[in-house]
């Protein structure tokens, strides 16, 4: 065993009692199920129960343990010792990923064995893809939680430091969990291809499990002061856009819907990154110093994630504008937005980023994200709503310029004014901070 992190997790996760307890408990459960079966469908019952047991042991319980993998280190002040170790980021990542959940995989493997045997016994379709999908989703959940907790570890909020975001993610996953393992086999149309339900979910879960492991590795790299260049986040936006774009009934024109989805994904990921990573004045000062020194590698290494997807949003917006004239009305065209609105959306993102920075650069910036969210809600929801109720349509359009009755290019003009004001505010804040 040459991964000390994995070994340490094994020491902490396994005791003689637990080593015997898990198989005993699972064995007794399956035995009870066998004896109580009165309809002669033992294999089918075992299959269903073992799938649910796997979901409980690996997905839910394992997610809890993966969530604690970083949270406990931070709480117990052992994280600095880990950061001071000579372990490379990949060793640390897989040691944590599979070490913190090793006991769950121990039980999970027994469930998988029962799923395989009972699945083949009961002539269930797609047993092998189901087994692999179950495992891939487990890894996806665990890796995503490790990445999320490390990514947000610098937040001072106690709820976040205690893994609150991780728990929120676990709850959301289980609320919206597709019960794919017991759904009847159907085919999925993706990029015009008919793909079997089980194979499609297997491919999807493997793709996103790989993305999550990669994300966990990148976040561990940053935590261990191994600087990386910020290409992975926009690359993930492109992968996600391509994945989601496959579900749009494209017809002849697939480019425009793909670009629109790319824009929406980039904007969403920008907002996610903006509100989950530190945007302190110090970080931006460091960036400015690196820029002055023309240290482009250092500059990129210290750059937050959101400017990369912000830039990608503008790229998608300009591509939508450039390709808009090629779109045949009604054929493969997403009627969601007019082409100039794409630029308005990108500008809106830039404006909101500036509003966040305005609060983040304040002398007492402890609740910058909260304050920014509050003002964005007022600006994007409350004020347009009040203007609408008061019958002031033009005022409403000034706050939220997405109405079809006006020339779409006017929305670009309105949002450029918003963005200009927001940029001026950030500059003003920067000048004030330099005077202190």
């Amino acid at each position: 065993m040459n991964n000390p992190e994995f070994k340490r997790n094994l020491w902490l996760s396994f005791s003689r009692h637990r080593l015997i307890g898990m198989p005993s408990l699972l064995g007794l459960t399956f035995l009870a199920l066998t004896f109580t079966d009165q309809q002669g469908e033992v294999a089918g019952s075992l299959y269903n129960v073992s799938v649910w047991l796997f979901i409980f042991i690996v997905w839910l319980w394992g997610a809890r343990n993966a969530n604690a993998a970083i949270v406990d280190e931070l709480r117990d002040h052992t994280w600095d010792q880990q950061r001071m170790s000579a372990l490379d980021p990949w060793t640390m990542t897989w040691g944590k990923l599979f070490g913190s959940t090793s006991f769950n995989w121990y039980g999970g493997l027994m469930c998988l064995a029962v799923i395989a045997v009972s699945g083949f016994g009961a002539d269930k379709p797609d047993v092998i893809p189901t087994l692999l999908t179950l495992c891939a989703v487990g890894v996806l959940l665990h890796a995503a939680l490790i990445a999320l907790n490390l990514h947000t570890s610098r937040f001072e909020s106690r709820i976040i430091q205690r893994g609150g975001l991780g728990w929120l993610m676990i709850i959301l996953v289980f609320i919206f969990m597709p019960a794919f393992a017991i759904q009847p086999a159907q085919s999925v149309t993706w990029w015009g291809m008919e793909i079997g339900h089980a194979i499609f979910w297997l491919g999807s879960s493997l793709l996103f499990a790989a993305c999550a492991i990669f994300a966990a590795w990148r976040v561990v790299c940053n935590a261990l002061q191994v600087r990386t260049l910020p290409w992975a986040w926009p690359a993930f936006a492109c992968i996600l856009a391509f994945y989601l774009g496959g579900f749009v009934p494209g017809g002849d024109s697939v480019l425009q819907p793909l670009l629109v989805i790319g824009l929406l994904v980039s904007v969403t990921l920008s907002y996610v990154a903006m509100f989950t990573e530190p945007n302190t004045l110090l970080r931006w000062r460091k960036l400015r110093l690196l820029q002055e020194r023309q240290d482009s590698r250092g500059w990129l290494g210290h750059l937050p994630l959101w400017p990369t997807t912000l830039a990608l949003s503008f790229l998608f917006a300009f591509l939508i504008l450039l390709t808009a004239h090629n779109v045949q009305p009604g054929i493969g065209r997403m009627a969601l937005i007019e082409a100039p609105h794409a630029l308005t959306i990108a500008l809106m993102l830039l404006r909101d980023a500036c509003i966040l920075l305005f609060f983040a650069f304040a002398p007492n910036a402890k609740r910058a994200a909260g304050a920014a969210i509050l003002y964005l809600v007022v600006l994007n929801l409350l004020l347009p709503f009040l203007a609408g109720v008061a019958g002031l349509d033009l005022v409403r359009y000034f706050f939220l310029p997405f109405e079809g009755e006006y020339d779409p290019w006017s929305s670009v003009l309105v949002m450029t004014i918003h963005t200009g004001i927001a940029i001026w505010l950030v500059n003003w804040r920067l000048r004030k901070s330099e005077q202190l």
Binding site: N2, P4, E5, K7, R8, W11, L12, D76, H77, T78, W79, D80, Q81, Q82, R83, M84, S85, A86, L87, D88, L224, Q225, V226, T280, L281, L282, R285, K286, L289, H302, P363, N364, A365, L436
Partner: protein, 310 residues
């Protein structure tokens, strides 16, 4: 061993380190002293590569900390002020994990655990869980984890807090031993008398700036410049005048029955001075070196700094 150039580190609304430039000599034990908030912990964390400074460079054993952080960690041990341990692991496993995580070959780990446990008097505790031990013993495990890979540089932030007097004495002995083995130590503590026992250098910080970074003279060194204290059994009004006239003496204070002065000469010259005093008829009851301890040295630095500010 440690070279720091123009290091500046900011916290929101507060500059913790301000253009700090210093060198820590190879094989030295440097006492890092200063009031709370002086920047001691921040400086250690920057050296350890746990924090990224705004500007400046740090090299440890000729490796840039920001470029080769992981390589630096192989030659460095760090004990944090707020260290943590894996409470459910035995002492042996805590040490084994630390050794393996620092890249020690698997075959060398048992010997490293045995050596470290012996150095820290933990040999009889190896099979106990760390969570079941007292604060002092856990402190020793944390130190053990920091030194198990025999680093070239050891950073210790308040290593003696929580230790009883006996454990502190053995800790001082351990640090002397580590220094003798060629390790470079940077130790911060509020208890200056404790640092006095083993430090060879003093680095005083205040408000993120260096007040003083110098070598501390040890008693066994053959000094050519020492502060001496003279006591007479019988007062003599001529004493100040006589000492003033003595070539190797720079008088600091003097009365009819005692004097304090800087003496520029070796032990033979000091013996000659004593002989002359007795020959002149002064009833000398004591002539002894007045060694400035770390506390006095630090306070003198602070006083000089405050005076310079006014």
């Amino acid at each position: 061993m440690i070279e720091i150039t123009n290091l500046t580190f900011d916290y929101p609304g507060h500059r913790a380190l301000n253009d700090v430039t210093l060198t820590v000599a190879n094989g030295s034990v440097t006492a890092l002293v200063g009031p709370n908030g002086a920047g001691k912990t921040t400086l250690m964390r920057c050296i350890a590569g746990l924090e990224t400074p705004l500007t400046g460079t740090i090299t440890v054993a000729d490796m840039d900390v920001s470029d080769r952080t992981r390589d630096v960690h192989r030659v460095m041990g760090y004990l944090s002020d707020f260290f943590g341990l894996y409470q459910d692991l035995t002492v042996a496993r805590c040490l084994e994990y630390a050794a393996a995580a620092q890249g020690l070959p698997e075959a060398d780990i048992p010997a490293a655990i045995e050596r470290t446990a012996r150095q820290l008097n933990l040999s009889d505790r190896l099979q106990q869980t760390s969570g079941s031990l007292s604060r002092g013993l856990r402190q020793r495990i944390a130190i053990g984890q920091a030194i198990i890979h025999q680093p070239k540089v050891l950073l210790l932030d308040e290593p003696a807090s929580g230790l009883d007097p006996e454990a502190r004495a053995s800790l001082a002995e351990l640090f002397r031993q580590l220094q003798a083995d060629g390790m470079t130590l940077l130790v911060s503590s509020h208890i200056l008398s404790e640092l006095d026992e083993y430090s060879t250098h003093m680095l005083a910080l205040r408000d993120g700036r260096i007040l003083e970074n110098r070598e501390i003279k040890l008693a066994h060194q053959s000094d050519v410049h020492r502060c001496l204290h003279l006591e007479l059994a019988q007062p003599d009004e001529l004493l100040p005048q006589w000492l003033q006239a003595y070539a190797q003496v720079t008088l600091k204070t003097a009365t009819a029955n005692h004097a304090e002065f800087d003496f520029h000469g070796d032990m033979h010259a000091q013996a000659l001075l004593l002989k002359s005093l007795i020959h002149e008829g002064f009833s000398v009851s004591s002539l002894a070196e007045q060694k400035e301890n770390l506390q006095q040295s630090y306070l003198r630095s602070v006083a000089a700094h405050l005076e310079a500010q006014q």
